[in-house]
Amino acid sequence: MNARHFEPPAITAFTATSALGRGLEAHARALREERSGLRRQAFEDCTLDTWIGAVDGLEIPLPPQWSAWDCRNHRLAELGLNQDGFVAAVERARARYGAQRVGVFIGTSTSGVRETERAYRELREDRLPDWFQHRTMQNTYAVADYVRRRLALCGPSAAISTACSSSAKVFAAAARALGAGLCDAAVVGGVDSLCLTTLYGFHALQLVARDVCRPADAERSGLSLGEAAAFLLLEREAGDARWRLEGYGESSDAHHMSAPDPEGRGAIAAMRAALARARIAPQEVDYINLHGTGTPANDLAEDRALCALFGRDVPCSSTKGWTGHTLGAAGALEAVLSLLALREGFLPRSLNTRRKDPRIEGAILMSTRHVPLRRVLSNSFGFGGSNCSLLLGARA
């Protein structure tokens, strides 16, 4: 671990759009009312019998000047950007620092591949239809490029695509760029939209539940897929800002492409690195937002890791019973939910968990608690054994 002192960036604006609704208030209300955004419904012509966390209102096209970029993923990005005064907050940062000094780091796993799927259904004489654009729809960078152009930013920019840890890792990449003085502010976020590739793909791996996803439940049978756009604005000069990215930790499992290390060694390393960067002890964490996909293997391995580092007392829950697994958007979405927990002073329960798996030893929240809190750790783990833990805190 690097000896250099870590200056925690300030989080000066944040927003989320998911199956729970548009913007922070919709999310806070759903969490208070214990109302899941998951519904037993089909996505377009997908024939799988499952629950999904779909965002309403994505049938509306982008404005004409963005027609080359018009796809489900960018409609979702656009909807997300327009909540909670986020665009205005970025405009203030751009005015203050200059467009060259505001970076853009967006996580996604499938970008606009939904449009590639559609285009393949319109193949004629082995040619894809004219409306289909690779660079502005399918390419993994497309969503980061869309956000960058939409916000008129010219700072360092990249899409990060490490499967389900993508939009947790954007915080690490942005913090490095801020720390090196490469930019003064950065828009980070995650955008991933429903598509057949992930629905049928996770189904092929026998990871999709027919039932609603039930993290940490004794009878959990897999994940429910969701979609989301979540964005945060990080700034180098923390000033008196209330929220901070206090630490991050990254690791690799070196174990298997699509199954977690059952001992959770990579997860332990990521969480430990996040604590070390913030120079805090495990008992200084008030709540852990779990990766908690609801698959039998993930929840057990994560619990092993958690108990090894924190013991059995730190309250924890997965919020995927609310939103579904939003894949490349999950890291940023759950960072926003963690900030909401800090702001509102509550610990969200593990929704849809009826009877806790007796093999899971951590303090899974079976009911929502209202307590002031100071620090939240949020976990995201992805295929390829890519792990990232974020430590979010309120100013002391």
Binding site: N2, R4, A99, V104, Y120, G201, E250, D253
Partner: protein
């Protein structure tokens, strides 16, 4: 960032006529002609047998340049942080998946699905080398090399981690090729370190500036290569390193700026 200074400890490449760093060095120095030959087949020394069977072409190509670079890196590979950068990763898999999904009640191959993630190469690399440290996977379309180099610079310089950078892309199959004509397969790898290493290929000073013209290759064949694959945007830097010459290589980045890489005397 007004310049972060790093050593390039090793370099690797796999491209038509530039099958490895030793050959590329001779070609880039002008000591040997560039012969536009297909890449001869090669087999990963690092991938375990199971993974070797499952790894898709883009992953094998990424390994090829990475293993070439590691041949001149004396420390264990497991201690390296990693940055993988690719515009399109494995379009062959996306093609197969989208073909399957165009039919009713599709049955996807589970191996195809887990290989379809953009970070497949990073996952296989971590498994093959037992590397458990930070690893990131980046995409910035045609600027993927510049974006990867920047992230690797920040890991090496900012977090003091010796870092392997691997940039790679393969040609998409038809019909995607018409929409994304990456003409040839190529990968490039660099090992970067914040330490001053006696055996280093060169010391770099890397800074981000507002727009600047990207460096080109004087040799027409090499300039064609540079533009034929996002990974080969690296050629102007490799050219300086191969010649052991001081100089500047400039790369367009994805954020409307440019990376200036000075190879120090």
């Amino acid at each position: 960032m007004n310049g972060m200074t790093l050593s390039v400890a090793a370099a690797g490449i796999a491209a038509p006529g530039l099958p490895d760093w030793a050959t590329a060095c001779a070609v880039l120095r002008g000591a040997a002609p560039h012969v536009a030959a297909e890449l001869p087949p090669s087999f990963s020394q690092l991938l375990p047998p199971n993974e070797r069977r499952r790894a898709p072409p883009a992953v094998r190509l990424a390994f090829r340049a990475a293993e070439d670079a590691l041949a001149r890196w004396p420390l264990p590979a497991e201690r390296l942080a990693a940055v993988f950068a690719s515009s399109d990763a494995d379009t062959g898999i996306i093609h197969r998946i989208c073909q399957t999904l165009a039919h009713p009640a599709p049955q996807l191959s589970p191996t195809d699905f887990h290989n379809s993630v953009h970070n497949a190469a990073a996952g296989y690399w971590s498994i093959a080398t037992a590397a458990r440290g930070p690893s990131n996977t980046i995409c910035a379309y045609d600027a993927s090399f510049a974006a990867g180099l920047l992230e690797a610079t920040l890991l090496a310089g900012g977090e003091n981690l010796d870092t392997l950078l691997v940039v790679y892309d393969v040609p998409p199959p038809a019909p995607l090729y018409e929409k994304r004509p990456i003409a040839l397969a190529a990968s490039v790898a660099l090992v970067l370190s914040a330490r001053a290493l006696p055996q280093a290929l060169g010391r770099l000073r890397i800074a981000r500036v507002a727009r600047a013209q990207p460096s080109r290759m004087d040799d027409a064949a090499l300039e064609t290569l540079r533009l034929a694959n996002p990974a080969l945007r690296a050629l102007p830097l490799l050219h300086l390193l191969a010649r052991g010459a001081a100089g500047r290589a400039t790369f367009e980045d994805a954020g409307h700026g440019a990376l200036c890489v000075d190879v120090l005397p």
